[in-house]
């Protein structure tokens, strides 16, 4: 991934900055710049998600692309935030440690790196809440 491409999404990746439609109250993460329900009537505003949520579904990745091969096995999940939006993220946990419905909270972590000397990509992972 190019530096510019990663840089552009830093607010979302580091701080879970998403959006919310002021007209119908729907929350969006990843952020959307228009509301699919309200369309041109929608009023999109920025919203910072606290990041509390739960596991909707999950897997353990054991065969990955080159960028992630050294991290295998790692736990991947779809997280539903308390406000409603769902998105995909890694969970810092042992295989078998999380289940459907496990509550999670966000942590700032290294996601991947472009080779040995390339840019390090940081972002948000999740940890189970005990």
């Amino acid at each position: 991934m190019s530096v510019a491409r990663f840089w552009r999404k830093i607010p979302q990746r580091y701080n879970l900055i998403g959006t919310r439609c002021g007209t119908c109250g729907t929350y969006f993460f990843p952020p959307r710049s228009f509301c699919p329900s309200c369309r041109r009537e929608g009023k999109i505003e920025e919203y910072r998600f606290p990041g509390k949520g739960k596991v909707v579904t999950h897997t353990v990745i054991r065969s990955a692309s080159e960028q992630f091969e050294r991290q295998t096995p790692y736990v991947l999940a779809i997280i539903q935030l308390d406000e409603g939006p769902r998105f995909t993220a890694q969970v810092v946990a042992e295989p078998g440690e999380i289940q459907v419905g496990t509550p999670v909270r966000p942590v700032f972590r290294r996601i991947s790196a472009d080779g040995e000397s390339g840019v390090i990509h940081y972002g948000t992972k999740f940890v189970p809440v005990r």
């Binding site: 991934m1 999404k9 990746r13 990843p30 909707v56 579904t57 999950h58 897997t59 353990v60 990745i61 054991r62 065969s63 990955a64 692309s65 080159e66 960028q67 992630f68 091969e69 991290q71 790692y74 991947l76 999940a77 779809i78 769902r86 998105f87 995909t88 993220a89 890694q90 295989p95 459907v100 996601i111 991947s112 990509h121 972002g123």
Partner: protein, 342 residues
């Protein structure tokens, strides 16, 4: 000419393959229009649909619908990453989602909600290898057992190596022409009864239901409605089994049974070659292979062979109407076609 292709740029560093294929098939000097169509693993299905639309509209007369992918020149890491491009790069690929990983999350959700056993899931692969063993062009022509699947290595839990379709080199082509002209070229043509396409969110996490492909539901419904047919009229179906769980979902989402019942149907042999609804007589993506851009056309070829009665050891006796179901990504694009014997 339409050519379905997902990623020649990354697999073989060649773009512009519409023109390239027109050239090497000797048609560039005739200056025919040649267009590449891309919708990840549904590129072939969309290529066929574009050809049907072109002919049905009267804009073109005789059109080649082709599909091709050359996947084995790159290593596994590169192919895994290239295929991950069919999902949302920024919000799925970026965090380490692989294609098997996304379908594994469908499987986890499905098995949490419906009574699908590990053995039933494996039986999808066993059935497709049985069919592949009767298909001389299949990538894998050997039968396997439930144990083969369950003892193979985990790729993304709960999916194992034998739940996954392979990396494949392949190509396929069909010719689409107006019905009234077809007899000029062959007396073994088949009729296109319906062509439907639908889309859904690019990301799996944004779906209304993780275990249901609503683009499959929509395209399947539209195809049957436009053909004026019901499920009982369909004699066989080629579905997009990129993973075993995908075949389970496809059978249900196309409406052949209720949600949660496809595992039992598979176990009871209803989707087998000699069952009431043979599914993936070619061996499917699992055994016949999955050269992503070619798959949608290969499905059409299989149904054409069946409707002509030329499918040899895997022939479904008396097959008159067949369906194909081709998925791009985790369900962001779906093409469904219905063909009928003449």
């Amino acid at each position: 000419m339409y050519v379905g292709n997902m990623s020649a740029g990354r697999f073989i560093e060649q773009e512009h393959i519409g023109a390239l294929i027109a050239d090497y098939s000797g048609m560039a000097t005739r200056h025919i229009p040649a267009t590449r169509v891309e919708a990840a693993c549904a590129s072939g299905g969309l290529s066929f649909r574009q050809a049907v639309i072109a002919v049905a509209s009267g804009m073109e007369d005789v059109v080649v619908a082709a599909g091709v992918e050359k996947m084995t020149d790159v290593g596994t890491g590169v192919s895994v990453d290239t295929l991950a491009g069919a999902a949302d790069r920024e919000w799925e690929g970026f965090v380490g989602a692989t294609f098997p990983g996304l379908y594994a999350m469908i499987a986890t959700d499905y098995m949490h909600r419906y009574p699908l056993t590990r053995e039933q899931l494996a039986q999808v692969a066993v059935k497709n290898h049985f069919n592949g063993a009767r298909n001389p062009i299949a990538q894998f022509q050997q039968e396997i057992t439930v144990e083969t699947v369950i003892r193979s290595s985990l790729v993304a839990d709960p999916l194992r190596l034998f739940d996954c379709s392979p990396i494949t080199d392949g190509a396929a082509a069909v010719i689409v022409a107006p019905l009234e002209r077809a007899r000029e070229f062959t007396d073994r043509f088949v009729k296109v009864r319906a062509s439907a396409q639908a889309s859904d969110t690019i990301s799996l996490h944004d779906r209304a239901d993780i275990s249901r492909l609503d683009a499959t539901v929509a395209a399947g419904r539209r195809a049957l409605d436009s053909a004026g047919l019901s499920h009982r009229d369909i004699d066989l179906v080629e579905v997009h089994d990129c993973f075993t769980i995908a075949e389970i979902c496809a059978i249900e989402d196309l409406g052949f049974c209720r949600k949660g019942d496809a595992g039992r149907l598979t176990e009871e042999g209803i989707t087998a070659l000699d069952g009431d609804l043979p599914v993936n007589t070619s061996g499917g993506l699992k055994a016949c292979g999955h050269p992503v851009g070619a798959t949608g056309i290969k499905q059409i070829c299989e149904v054409v062979q069946q409707l002509r009665g030329e499918a040899g050891k895997r022939q479904v006796p008396g097959a008159e109407i067949g369906m194909t179901h081709n998925v791009g990504g985790t369900g962001a694009t779906v093409a469904v076609h219905i063909l009928e014997a003449i």
